[in-house]
């Protein structure tokens, strides 16, 4: 498989303070890659670097065969104004921007695709409901429906399952697997190791720098996780930083010890 993204000694950061150091390597087309690491490890920063929201402090990110504006990117924090009077249908339809732009009207086929995307995330029947009346999980489903319509070969997801119920997580995780089965490259920042082990064959463990990268089972070893924690502490993160939510208890014990 050919490379879709190349990192060439990539350093990213804010106000000249690096958050990701000297990342090298490539992500091949069709990958299903989880990015894990403690808080402040640079996971979201890396995604921002890939979509071009952050300019590298050093090195560069090379996208092979895809334009930045065609990347489907689900941010960790929703930037949607929930009070805006827009119906779910119109909100999801914005995913067709790459095909229809700002000015072209939707034809019958496009309207069918919008309805299919809404059905795929289980929001059928709610098309006319304003987004301000949606629960957190429903809004996340609507954001996924918009991603479906973007029809991008590269999907970036930044902690997509935070604060949503188990059924919604199950449905959206199935959607992510289907995207990958269709040949799309999916890169997902996650904290739930059980889910990473279950769904993601490849993992990148970050702690401001690459700790390990490869098959998920090998990357999530005790030694690598300990090393990630030590690096996070060395980089000035909170003492006892946990790499994932299931480690919080262990970290607390570590601090008491």
């Amino acid at each position: 498989m050919s490379a879709l993204i190349r990192f060439d000694n990539l350093t990213l950061g804010y106000n000249r303070h690096p958050a990701v150091h000297h990342l090298k390597g490539e992500i091949v087309a069709g990958s299903l890659l989880a990015i894990v690491g403690p808080n402040g490890a640079g996971k979201s920063t890396l995604l921002k670097g890939i979509v071009g929201e952050l300019r590298p402090l050093q090195g560069h990110v090379e996208l092979c065969g895809i334009k930045r504006e065609h990347i489907a990117y689900l941010t960790q924090q929703s930037t949607i104004d929930g009070s805006f009077p827009i119906a779910i249908y119109d909100f999801v339809a914005m995913g067709l921007w790459a095909q229809f732009g700002a000015f072209r009207g939707f034809n019958r086929a496009a309207r069918a695709r919008i309805e299919e995307a809404i059905a795929a995330v289980g929001l059928s029947g709610l098309e006319d409901r304003p987004i301000g009346q949606l629960s957190g999980g429903q809004l996340q489903r609507a954001r996924f429906a918009r991603l479906i319509l973007q029809d991008s070969p590269l999907v970036l997801l930044d902690e997509p399952y935070g604060a949503i119920d188990a059924n919604t997580v199950r449905d959206l995780a199935a959607l992510v697997r289907r995207w990958n089965d269709e040949g799309r490259t999916v890169i997902c920042v996650l904290h739930d190791f059980a889910q990473v082990r279950q769904d993601y064959p490849e993992t990148l463990l970050l702690a401001r720098e690459q700790v390990a990268r490869g098959a998920t089972g090998e990357v999530l070893s005790e030694a690598n996780l300990l090393r990630a924690r030590q690096l996070a502490e060395a980089h000035g993160e909170l003492p006892g930083a946990a790499v994932c939510s299931s480690e919080v208890g262990a970290s607390a014990e570590h601090r008491h010890a």
Binding site: E69, F84, P85
Partner: protein
């Protein structure tokens, strides 16, 4: 008896049949309702209502310099106002992006300086009547040129909103997403600011610098209490704006009130009425039967 004679006997219509200045005022208000009010809807949805007020004050020194150069000339005051309004909108945004000063404070500082500079410039050369004209407008004194200008601004706004609705909606609803997926994001932002400024200048000629934003924000806020979807919201706001303008003009005619404040106060009254009985207002849910708790 002809239709005109019949209509002339109706109190709600007769002022507009008898007097040309009332017809012109009504036409000006219609143009503002069609052009400025939809822009006001987006100002409100972008939480920029006060920014619109600030920019409306900011056009004063430009209009005042136009007045200083050419007297009460429509063209000179419009051009001056346009330059000053766009300059202040850009400068305030630039300061907010590049310093610790937030956008609301930045706009407030610029509009305070602009308002005082404008009043100072007009006072240097003009009379109190001229000052009242620019501060409170002269909707009952709109001439053909002024009407043409208001009509042109309204036409530009209607075309821009119709063609760019998807762009403006996404820019308001999810600006970060738009900036990622399209290079039109700056066009949406700055194009919208230009539309705000030209409509404020239109409002400035009719209602004056202090109340120009009234016909943009009050009908929008009133309509928001009735409607929860963007296109019906715009249409409702336009309807409220025109109804309020019509009622304001009639009040001004029959009770002998200044026309500009009468229009803005009527729009304020419609807003309060919407607050009281609008389905999205605070009272509606309290007064409605609570079906959930009934057996």
């Amino acid at each position: 008896m002809s239709l005109i004679d019949t209509l002339a006997g109706l109190p709600l219509v007769s002022p507009f049949i008898e007097f040309g200045f009332m017809r012109r005022a009504l036409a000006g208000c219609l143009a503002l309702s069609l052009g400025a009010t939809p822009i006001g809807v987006f100002l409100m949805l972008r939480r920029m209502s006060l920014a619109g007020d600030a920019i409306s004050h900011a056009i004063l020194p430009g209009a005042a310099i136009g007045y200083l150069v050419a007297g009460l000339s429509l063209g000179a005051m419009t051009l001056g106002g346009l330059v000053a309004g766009i300059a202040v909108a850009l400068a305030a945004g630039g300061v907010a992006r590049n310093s610790v000063i937030k956008e609301d404070t930045s706009l407030a500082t610029f509009y305070l300086m602009s308002l005082s500079a404008g009043v100072l410039i007009i006072s240097m050369r003009g009379s109190n009547v001229d000052l009242l004209h620019v501060l409170f407008g002269s909707v009952l004194a709109l001439d053909n040129d002024a009407l043409l200008l208001l009509g042109s601004f309204a036409s530009c706004s209607i075309v821009a909103i119709t063609l760019g609705l998807r762009l403006i909606v996404l820019e308001c609803c999810d600006p970060s997403h738009l900036s990622r997926i399209s290079r039109l994001s700056p066009l949406a932002h700055y194009g919208f600011m230009v539309l705000v400024v030209i409509n404020l200048i239109g409002g400035f000629h009719a209602l004056g610098t202090l109340m120009a934003v009234g016909i943009m924000i009050l009908p929008s806020a009133a309509a928001r209490l009735w409607v929860d979807h963007i296109v019906p919201l715009i249409l409702t706001a336009v309807l409220i704006a025109f109804t309020g303008s019509l009622c304001g003009l009639l009040l001004s005619y029959y009770i002998n009130l200044p026309a500009g404040p009468a229009i803005v106060l009527t729009l304020g009254g419609l807003y309060l009425l919407s607050m009281a009985i609008g389905p999205l207002g605070p009272w509606w849910n309290r007064l409605r039967p609570r079906w959930h708790f009934e057996r």
